[in-house]
């Protein structure tokens, strides 16, 4: 029921984890450069609306709360599975994570759609191009994470005891925490300074 029994599987496991970790590090550099682009582009409003006119603190607080809560639920999903507790509990935490992530994405898409319909789409100014690139790239990552959670939920129900499935959940957990770290950068650098 529980984990890897032999050393060989364990070392293969930790190698895949490290390989995935290196992907996350390259993704961190990608996000770092998009942040740098944003910083360079942010004064270029071209007479269009800035963050001060567009952002809504209530929406941002809700989005941040959902993503932060999902960080807890994915950690609990992995913890439950790694300790060989019930599959039902693992699946429960994963479903909850998916719902919180989906809630985050819905709020984000709604906000971006409002901006576009108010004439503040990515083509309006350099500032908005950089904003949509940064927030959109993060949103795409969250969407990819949601697909991943969905497939893993199915795998857990089909092959609950498999070490391979558990190891995939370990990597999903890393990915999800990484996305939350990127979001800390987004709300601290992009949103909050405009809302002071």
């Amino acid at each position: 029921m529980t984990m890897l029994s032999d050393t060989q599987t364990r070392s293969k496991e930790s190698e895949s984890d490290f390989g995935f970790w290196l992907y996350l590090m390259s993704d961190a550099i990608l996000f770092g450069l998009i942040f740098a682009t944003f910083v360079v582009m942010s004064p270029n409003l071209a007479g269009g609306p800035g963050g001060r006119d567009l952002f809504d603190l209530a929406n941002l607080t809700l989005q941040t709360g959902l993503l932060l809560a999902s960080s807890l639920t994915i950690a609990l999903a992995h913890h439950t599975a790694a300790n060989g507790r019930s599959i039902a509990a693992t699946v429960f935490w994963m479903v909850l994570t998916a719902l919180l992530g989906a809630g985050f994405l819905v709020l984000e898409l709604r906000e971006l759609a409002q901006f576009v319909s108010a004439g503040a789409g990515p083509q309006r100014s350099g500032y908005l191009s950089a904003f949509f690139t940064l927030v959109g790239t993060h949103g795409l990552h969250v969407a990819a994470g949601l697909i991943w959670i969905g497939t893993l939920i199915v795998q857990f129900m089909l092959r609950p005891a498999s070490p391979a499935v558990l190891s995939r959940l370990a990597r999903l957990t890393l990915f999800w925490h990484f996305l939350d770290i990127v979001w800390i950068g987004v709300f601290s650098l992009v949103y909050l300074p405009e809302l002071i």
Partner: protein, 96 residues
């Protein structure tokens, strides 16, 4: 195994606190603009450290992750810092 549970909840509690502080200061507008900006920056750095330590295992185990993270930070610092430096300098030379 209970220790793992405690780690998760400690990390989460610290993350909530470090999120609530900057949001509350922005909503309440208690401090000057500059002080609020500093507070946002410091809380963000602290919260990233909390996530790395409590959720991603940096500094608890996984030495190989810490090493590659340090390398990533050096590369990111050169590329991000260099980009901002070069572009700010260009901006200044163009006389804006």
């Amino acid at each position: 195994m209970m220790r793992d549970h405690a780690t998760i909840f400690t990390g989460f509690a610290l993350a909530v606190l470090l999120t609530a502080i900057p949001f509350a200061c922005v909503a309440g507008a208690w401090l000057s603009r500059d002080a609020t900006l500093w507070l946002i920056g410091l809380c963000a750095i602290a919260q990233i450290a909390v996530h790395l330590h409590f959720f991603l295992g940096i500094g608890r185990r996984h030495r190989e992750r810490a090493g590659s993270l340090a390398f990533t930070m050096v590369v990111a610092f050169i590329m991000v810092g260099g980009t901002i430096w070069v572009m700010a300098n260009l901006n200044w030379r163009m006389g804006y």
